[in-house]
Symmetry: C2
Subunit: 387 residues, 2 copies
Amino acid sequence: MTQAVRHDVMRARNLEVVLGAVSRGGPLTRAALAEVTGLTKSTVSKLVGDLVDAGLLAETGPARVGERGRPGVEVVLSGARVASLGLEINVDYLAARVLDLTGGVRFAARRERDNRGSRPKKVLTELQALATEALAETHRVGLEVAGAVLAVSGPVGDGVLFSAPNLGWHDVRPAELLRLPVPVELDNEANLAALGEFWYGGGERDFLYVSGEIGIGAGLVVNGTLFSGATGLAGELGHVVVAPQGPVCRCGGHGCLETFAGQEALLAAGGVPALPDLVTALERGDAAALAACKAAGQALGVALTSAVNLLDLDRIVLGGVFTQLYPWLSGPVAEVLNARLGLLRGAPPVLTASRLGGDAATLGAAGRVVHRVLADPASFVTRAQEA
Amino acid sequence: MTQAVRHDVMRARNLEVVLGAVSRGGPLTRAALAEVTGLTKSTVSKLVGDLVDAGLLAETGPARVGERGRPGVEVVLSGARVASLGLEINVDYLAARVLDLTGGVRFAARRERDNRGSRPKKVLTELQALATEALAETHRVGLEVAGAVLAVSGPVGDGVLFSAPNLGWHDVRPAELLRLPVPVELDNEANLAALGEFWYGGGERDFLYVSGEIGIGAGLVVNGTLFSGATGLAGELGHVVVAPQGPVCRCGGHGCLETFAGQEALLAAGGVPALPDLVTALERGDAAALAACKAAGQALGVALTSAVNLLDLDRIVLGGVFTQLYPWLSGPVAEVLNARLGLLRGAPPVLTASRLGGDAATLGAAGRVVHRVLADPASFVTRAQEA
């Protein structure tokens, strides 16, 4: 019962199979690709030719002559044609980053500024200038940007940023205010940072990425896939209840994690105006600063205990400002996790600082476009052939 | 570029496609099946024939003559051959249930007993007697049991029940103590009850099922799929922290949800020895019983607030003993959810009582085997052809 499958569907699938094999295991010769994909050599040659023409693959020099092998040209992902743009609006800065298909950083810029309470239009006009600069630089070196993703700190759905407490924004549609020649998608900063950490950081397949800023968000990666819940709003770690009778939170509740470990609570408890001052105070052993970090770490430990029980976490990555504060936070967090999870789970989860720090969100944002191209190269190949 | 796909792989896939189409949309004629699957009529006829021979599909009487149609025999899932066995060890009872492929209940029995502190061997010997009775009755009516799943209240992995606090068990391998002529798998009661609720209850595709017993577990269904975490231990709602300085919990922590809303805490606060006494007291308006339910409901509301923030829940189903207590618990739970989630999420999640009550776990357990047969009918068809 051999089945005729539609030509274009099968071709799209095979293009993805070949590109994926090179992405995971390249450089590979055409012969090796035929071996790993199970496709015939002539099919592989045609597909590789199309992918090279579309600028998704590139040929390298002849392979080394092995004992039994013969020299052959190998193919690798091409970093010379397709690129993607990651953007971020943070309370303290705007950032842009361009990645090529190999994950190479082709542009990265960060503009420090205080976006607190700024009007969306003003911030997005500045972001547009930064993005335009990134696109110009990218075009100058011959790359074509396939798309852009914008990371924002707050719950997102259908292109709407529902609320960004750090910025004082509600129900903003950033993409509609940005005038860029590429499509711009919106996504949550913690989710994108978690993907950035997965693709370009530790490479672990299961972890919770915690983004500590004024708000505290989290992105859960399970078996290499982002868990985003029924409506994309999962990971609101900042409003996990630490103490039901605790301080009033801006969400209307009491004793949410943010009221203990959010940046504003940390700075107030440490008696310092800004994060760099807190780090300086911690480094010189200031008692108030140390106590502030200890209390925040304990609250974070309680909230993460609840998260581990609900989500079954083996690994927790502390990102955002928690990366900088890791030396002072990690002890109290680990103590609480050990005391509360040791009996039930045997080993408490592994706790680490993010390897990417503040770059995680733009890496995840740009990476999202890169991975979309890798998963569906057919449209690129078709476009290249029609051009 | 037409591709030859291996005969047996394609056939297995097509058997699944045809069986799935009938399962979702039957009764269907062969012509209608060809239409919805895109397969040729002769391929469909061959596949349907094999599925009928294997006892997975059955033919019904001729279809009504439509305006333009012609009479045709329709096929439906067959309830006459394949069955599955769901088993449950609860603290208060043992239960067994047999479902046929259509979801029809072919056997159901529950033996009330106090399993608290009983030796695993004793309980499993009794369960084996009940399961043997279920299998005998099933064979008597001509059904063949494809497999069994056993629901237990506690974290499970690789056939090991790590701990069942309700029973006082640790590291038990129940399947090794059961002597049954069918393969027995082990799974967590709250996860299975969530699947039972999904397949045979409300039919919603996204919800958290909360299982209130002596321990409190939860099963999360996202887009019709169970979320079980990196190692299968997700959903330990009972150890979500409600008050970090609260009562000592058997997990070694303090102020976990179970210390406020577990069955033992509820009974102690209500001043009654057992659940039926609590319900009686509530029905006559006893002040201590009402206060106990109010406090438990508020604690449940706090823990569920954390769960909603982390998991993005639109719907929460209260099961286990919480189903019976729903009239008294739901008010306090909803009040806390409204107060804490209204601002962030707009609408708080919908709260309902389980429609299946104590039957959810055995329905989910038996349903797991049914759905496995529906997802991979090829092995059944092959076996029927070899017999």
